[in-house]
Amino acid sequence: MKLSRESEEFIANVRMYLMTSGKNEREIDEVAEELEDHLAELEHRGESVDRITGGSPKEYFASLEQEMDNDYAGWLKYVPAFLLAFAAFAAMGPAIRGMFSLNLLQLIGYPLVAVIVAVLYRNMFRKMAAGQWSNRKLFLAGGGLSMLSVFLFVGVLLASSLIMDPFYTAGRTGNLAVIVLSVVAFAAAAMMTGSWLLITIAVALFLPEWLILSMPFQEEAKMVASAFIPFIAVALVIAAHLFYERRKIDRA
């Protein structure tokens, strides 16, 4: 039996909330399946998800959270994938532009920014799941947070290049090697997480830039195009992904 969109969203929120609490994945699946079954019965009788939560998803999620085992070790397996993908995202852009270099401040600043950004996203997803956010609120919070992440990254990049000289500046071979390593890192991270979204985002972000830079346009046109087109491509990829996921739910 197919559940209503409201119920599907409720189940997705339960999963999201419990995942961001570091709960055991198998237990999350079990609870989600039980709730799906319960919702199917309720809908069969014309009732809604409010019968389950008593009108307060936040309180209900907290009561589930309290009874479930933490499994931080289970989630630690995603840390290497996160670090690989993160390093590849940071390194690939400069390498494509033929400007890959490293200094000490970046080496400290980037991981720090990565941790801050990861914690902020986790908190946002958690609040989103418990608060049953509207699309508008989600868009504003998500957009604000991704802008903040970009600012932090650019901040580290600018500050570090103003303050100190790089200890490594890549030549032609060096840049090429960084590109190849980044591609390998993306592929490895995608395999570890079992998600191809990561790779499609990376392709959308970097392939247009690489194509634009290797075309015989004027420098200014290249700069303008490479500032906008990759972000439009990423937005399209994410939109297509969301559309595809929704269709998958509707068909099931």
Partner: protein, 115 residues
Amino acid sequence: MTTSQMLKGVLEGCLLAIIGRGETYGYEMVEKLGEYGLTMVSEGSIYPVLLRMQKEGLVMTVMRPSPNGPKRKYYKLTQAGEEELEAFKKRWSVMAGAVGNLLEGSGKDEAVEGK
């Protein structure tokens, strides 16, 4: 205090009793509780309790296909669950008796006033 709030404190015992009558699953437990007049504001509150009971070894579970399609989790009592149910029944009858006496005002209060 609403019935739903009072039920919270004894939900584990009531679930033990329901499961003790034969293998059953989440939604059906809520329905059976309802048949006895034990209704809940948030039906989902049985699941955290069932999780805890499962961890304490009071119930065991088995997955079976349901008419709805997805697999359904059925519960039944373990030996420890049967024992806990008996213990709960005893505690409950002491409690119910004591509260009943208090509400009917038999004895003690008047005895204190009389002194």
